[in-house]
Amino acid sequence: MNTNVTWRNFTRAKVTNVSRRNVLLGLAAGTFALSVQLPRRASAEEEKLYGGAGMPGGVKDDPRIFLTIEEDGTVRLLCNRAEMGQGVRTGWATVIADELEADLTRIRVEQAPGNQALYGNQNTDGSRSMRHHFQALRRIGAAARTMLEQEAASRWDVPADEVRASGHQVTHANSDRSFGFGELARAAAERDVPAAEDLVFKAPEDFQHIGKDVNNVDNLDITTGSPIYGIDKQLDGLVYAVIARPPVYGGKVKSYDDTEARKVPGVIEILEIDSPDIPSAFLPLGGIAVVAENTFAANKARLLLEIEWDAGDNQSYDSAEYRKTLEAASEQPGEVMRNDGDVDAALADAAERISASYYLPHLAHASMEPPSATARFADGKCEVWTSVQAPEALRTDLMKRFELAPENAVVHSMLLGGGFGRKSKPDYASEAAIISKALDGRPVKLTFMREDDIQHDFFHTVSVERLEGGLDENGKTVAWLHRTVAPSIGSTFEPDVVHQSAGELGMGAVDNPFDIPNLRVENPEAAAHTRIGWFRSVYNIPHAFAVQSFAAELAAAAGRDHKEYLLELLGPDREISRAAMNDTSVYGEDPELYPYDTARLRKVIEAATEAAGWGRDLPEGRGLGLAAHHSFVSYTAVVVEVEVKDGGLIFPRVDIAFDCGAIISPDRVRAQLEGAVVQGVSLATLGEISFKDGVPEQSNFDGFELTRIDASPVEIHTHLVPSLDYDSPLGGVGEPGLPPVAPAITNAIFAATGKRIRALPIRDQFV
């Protein structure tokens, strides 16, 4: 069996429906070339692989790696992707239950340890775990089912096509005999794994679990407090550590005095960890580590350390000043990343010109489980138990730092108490390993206090988005100029990165679907002064906020209904090639195969507005706001109803319509959308990390506020576009709900009050 299969060769497998892929290929031939050569910020490899196959380690599908069936029939399934609440473990079990013909309640999902070579790519990001693994999981389940059936047929000495697996057993109906999976498993596992092209898959209309509501496989553990998260790891002789890190990114310890700290009862050791040069990628920031008999004692001592820091070049970072820098940059031309028609001429000829500048501050991830890891570095072997999105990135760091052979860098993946992108960066786990090694192998649990988490995050970027539009005498938009100015995540890895990457620009800036003949996207320079990292939905947040706010501003300037105007901007139904938008990234997928399907965005806009009663009469102080966005291969539209009352904002109702193609677990999809709405409310109304003298001004939930239940929308209605097309690649779920929420809120506030809010967070700007 091919153990590194791709979407490309999967199309050879026996599936009943006609693959939509072929249709997409046909349309891709009709794309047109751009008239000017624009910068393409992508690697120049000619034979680039895409999708799961394009990720390091690829996708594996050998059932013997992922499935174990015990003699009592318990199925143990290794999940290769991190669970952080997005429901991937439930999704994996659901697919296996269907193709294996197993009882879903008898499947135990376990996390695969970090081992990319064995399990395939394990980096959980980009909302693509199910897209990359759905067909592989079907092959795993179908292959194992076939092996069980073959074993039973062999024992009964009947043709294999006379036996059938169903309900966790294999039955020979002609003779009314059956074996439980557990009775067959040991011998079945010795049989040859069938070739992928010989597998027969369940038809979507026969799915019993896929596409149906199933329970979260971790419900019992979660509701009874089982120690399932990285921060929960227990080991004999465990000691506990916290670290005082340089307050300013790039700072180092100049000197320190630990006299008072060492007097705290329970303190075991205090040691210095070297700080790296910046940009420091995933490396720990260094500082002074305190190890004690419990976390409280460690932190109590840490607060008594007297440390003199060499703050370094970023000590002048000031958010208010930096906003001016970004705004000044947005007033000047930048590198042209997309250029349709002649924007300058169209603006000059326009009957009306409007412009707007939007500002979105840094955000912290603030997962409820702060970064934490337990390490035991003894006898030349480093073992780490932690919650990471990218176990292989951690292993790579450990192998390099400690010159370890791969088998001596062991990462046990546990569940994540939230990730949102923060736990793609395993700096905290390396810290635990460093401390355990310094303590001659004593096991150490390192925990970020909440202050550490918020002040030493890999922050969501800060952004100024400047939009300028030209309307003709009929109110039609004929020119669109978008300048996006934001430090790039690349700045965390390479010096002197001042432009957004192709992937960042392809998150809602260059991949603009509007049917506007003159459209230019520019990217002026922006230098980073702190660690920038991925945050749920990433650059879609500022880009969607600006594009969807400005579309509403254009509608208002034209005196038109926002929804009708937005659909006009979107234009006739069509598939826009990525080349036509100079979008070279598409989340690592093949640009040729993922055109922008404007009909899908139109349909979710129509679904959300219809469900919300768009156009209905509302009492004074209430308004409906709309926004829509395509990201992570999915399409989302949100209508927010807002009420401005007694100086506060109430959200009586939110409708979110979503098209991610075919769905594995509808309940988990709804949960992600509900969560995206709440997180969108949070970032729109409250979210801000600001810097003064190079240091974040917020440090806990008093300064970095998050939406609580009393400010959460009263009703959230989710509307999923049904699809049985399980042969086409699945759209993402974890992230694409988020980007349109914030602009839908500010558009609703405009509808309610006439006040246009262009800077987040909203706080009390509507008053």
Binding site: G85, D218, I222, T223, E369, G417, V678
Partner: protein, 152 residues
């Protein structure tokens, strides 16, 4: 030396009197079901019951617990079938689940004092518990479901 009980088992402690119950439970007693979230009583992840009343364990010194009955998520029910736990599973409230032990302990305390809570009661009781995944609509629904069951 203070003596208290945790989920019916006797405990005694004579360490640093300022040690919060949270870290006693997690690091010294080996009971990590109670979660660390903020350390300042701002998020509710560490909620336990002291003599049946929801309390932030990160703001509770162990030295103040003499004679107190502590209940944690591990001991809320014998078999995990407290009505709140059942409702949480039935409505698939949790996403990442990390804050949910604190949410469940807070909700159980609310329902013991207010068996049929209004939306305002729920807001007042539950707004100290942060969920970063945004499960609030289902938390609200699950509290109402548990209340409805208990009222039948």
């Amino acid at each position: 030396m203070v003596e208290f009980s945790v989920n019916g088992t006797k405990h005694s402690f004579d360490g640093d009197p300022e040690t919060p119950l949270l870290w006693y439970l997690r690091d010294l007693a080996g009971m990590p079901g109670t979660k660390f979230g903020c350390g300042l009583g701002l998020c509710g992840a560490c909620t336990v019951h002291l003599d049946g009343v929801a309390t932030r364990s990160c703001q509770t010194w162990v030295s103040d617990l003499d004679g107190v009955e502590v209940t944690t998520i591990e001991g809320l029910s014998e078999d995990g079938n407290h009505p709140v736990q059942v409702a949480w599973r039935e409505l698939n409230v949790a996403q990442c689940g990390y804050c949910q032990p604190g949410q469940i302990m807070q909700a159980a305390s609310l329902l013991s004092e207010t068996p049929d809570p209004s939306d305002e009661d729920i807001n007042a009781s539950m707004s100290g518990n942060i969920c970063r995944c945004g499960t609030y609509p289902r938390i609200r629904a699950a509290i109402k479901l548990a209340a409805e069951r208990a009222g039948q």
